[in-house]
Symmetry: C2
Subunit: 205 residues, 2 copies
Amino acid sequence: MARQLRAVRTRQALVDAAATEFDRSGYAGAALNRICRAAGITMGALTFHFSTKGELAAAVQAKGQTVTRAALAALPSGPAPALHRAIDATLELARLLEEEPTVRSAARLSRERPDGELAWTTSWITAVQDLFSQAYRDGQLHAAVRPEDLAMLSRFLILGAEHRARAAGEQSVEEPREASAVEEVRQMWDIIQRGICGPSSLAPS
Amino acid sequence: MARQLRAVRTRQALVDAAATEFDRSGYAGAALNRICRAAGITMGALTFHFSTKGELAAAVQAKGQTVTRAALAALPSGPAPALHRAIDATLELARLLEEEPTVRSAARLSRERPDGELAWTTSWITAVQDLFSQAYRDGQLHAAVRPEDLAMLSRFLILGAEHRARAAGEQSVEEPREASAVEEVRQMWDIIQRGICGPSSLAPS
């Protein structure tokens, strides 16, 4: 039992260290020896648990999906209107992207290693689209706005949040910023809810 | 003269081949020998023109910026309302991201190698924000919508367009799709112009 517990802990430490490394350097740039050093584990132990870099990446992606599903499931389910719950779900995703290296890493890896089942988006897109569909049925949405378009818009915002969160972690000189990714996504939804056109604006083309 | 012309052509062929390689594999994953092979140029000639991978990447980024600035400058300047011109500018950026490997590569490299001057965003963000500011002054925007918020929203949409364009090029199984990135960004602006809230919706939180 003690040996099994140790093996589980070693595995977890490797997945956490790998998440940080894949998040920073991407799949191609990630170095297994840096992951070992960060986890305090020998290369022999790493290859015992994960025989390839791909296996390790898949474990990180699976953990990122699990963390995401759990976080969305833990959000309050009512009595707030569905539109607000949909938006709150995307804010929770932005928070995860800022605070959870496994989630940020899963998002990056699922672009760099396309694989339908491991794609991070699959862990949240259905839940978010279902909430927008509910909002539509409840009359909260403009009749011309389709729930699937809002799911697409959410993907764009979440992708933006991922990159803003990563840039903040790296203190990029490119984009000095004060607001968190969560705050930025909230601002975008405030604009999107109201629409941007003023009184003298022409009808949308 | 003939030798100088040949040198310019060699340099251009290397930058174009490097753009495709950086776009696909990222900075860390890009292989100089694949770039040489694609350009039909020896490694010796590559290192004569670019002594480091970083120099080659900087040349790709500079070309991506030049292409972007030229494309925006070539858009018609009137008499369309400034809001429509701002949106058209973002659609042109989405088109470049779909069709121009140097631009897509510049966008990717400027995230992977943070450097203020080479950041691809700097080649368009001021022009786009100026158009939104003009739209604001012309009363085309809702009074509560700030031009800088729309510049931020544009960044989110353009980042999304970049990834959609790249995923389409790789024919990712993750995201089967029919619409082009340009068409998707246009759909998003249609929604954003109108706003999403229906009659029974509560006021934005």
